[in-house]
């Protein structure tokens, strides 16, 4: 699961290498959304930063 954004970005880079800009951008968007979802999943507790 945690490797999914790397897979998406690698596919996007591959698409860019093959000069498919739209496909590359699509993979980037999915990679970014996956990164943000995984970040949200890992934010499980409230920060205790009051002094």
């Amino acid at each position: 699961m945690m490797s999914l954004p790397f897979v998406l970005f690698a596919c996007g880079l591959g698409a860019a290498w093959m000069r498919h800009r739209g496909v590359a951008m699509g993979f980037w968007v999915f990679g970014l959304v996956t990164m943000l979802v995984l970040f949200r999943v890992h934010v499980t507790e409230v920060l205790s930063i009051q002094l």
């Binding site: 954004p5 970005f9 890992h42």
Partner: protein, 184 residues
């Protein structure tokens, strides 16, 4: 700024991001400083940011590519900031070994800010966007090497993350590679 100079500077930037990711790998493999879930997501942030710079190299400089890099860097910076804030109160510990007095997540935050500022500076020059020229032959090897390094690091991170976490989520403080653990 000509398209060639812009591509060259983008290649230097991508090589910088590649160096950061390679150093993280060295820290992981050589010093056995296994990355936590947020550390892995910061690496993802570097790929999200570097993606825009890679697009500049392949398709020529465009404002939208710098936008891609900035959005990726801001996302990565948010993740790094979260990890800094987890450990900011004295007595709450830290994760991993410090490098030159700062932990890797603090360095990551600084690097993300540098990427945002670097992209903003590059965006100041409109002349690079006026005409998209094909990359000149004498410049091709360096940007393409930087791009290839970036792609290789992305693939290496896929295998590393699968080895560390398997198919699911990573443990908060990984002690060993899940894939190489012998079953009890």
């Amino acid at each position: 700024m000509s398209g060639d100079l812009s591509r060259l500077l983008n290649a230097v930037g991508l090589l910088g991001i590649g160096t950061v990711l390679a150093l993280a790998f060295i820290d992981q493999i050589w010093f056995r400083d296994l990355p936590c879930p947020l550390c892995i997501l910061q690496r993802v942030g570097f790929f999200a940011a570097g993606f825009g710079i890679a697009l500049n190299i392949v398709f020529g400089p465009k404002p939208s590519h710098y936008g891609v890099a900035i959005i990726g860097a801001v996302g990565g910076a948010a993740i790094a900031m979260r990890q800094i804030l987890i450990h900011i109160v004295p007595g709450t510990g830290s994760y991993g070994n410090p490098v030159f007095g700062l932990h890797l997540y603090t360095w990551a935050f600084i690097a993300f800010v540098v990427i945002v500022v670097g992209c903003a500076i590059m965006l100041l020059d409109d002349r690079q966007f006026s005409r998209v020229e094909p990359m000149s032959a004498r410049l091709k090897p360096f940007p393409l090497s930087a791009l290839l390094l970036f792609l290789v690091l992305a693939v290496a991170n896929i295998f590393s993350t699968i080895a560390l976490c398997g198919a699911g989520f990573c443990p908060d403080e990984p002690k060993d590679y899940i894939l190489f653990q012998s079953s009890p």
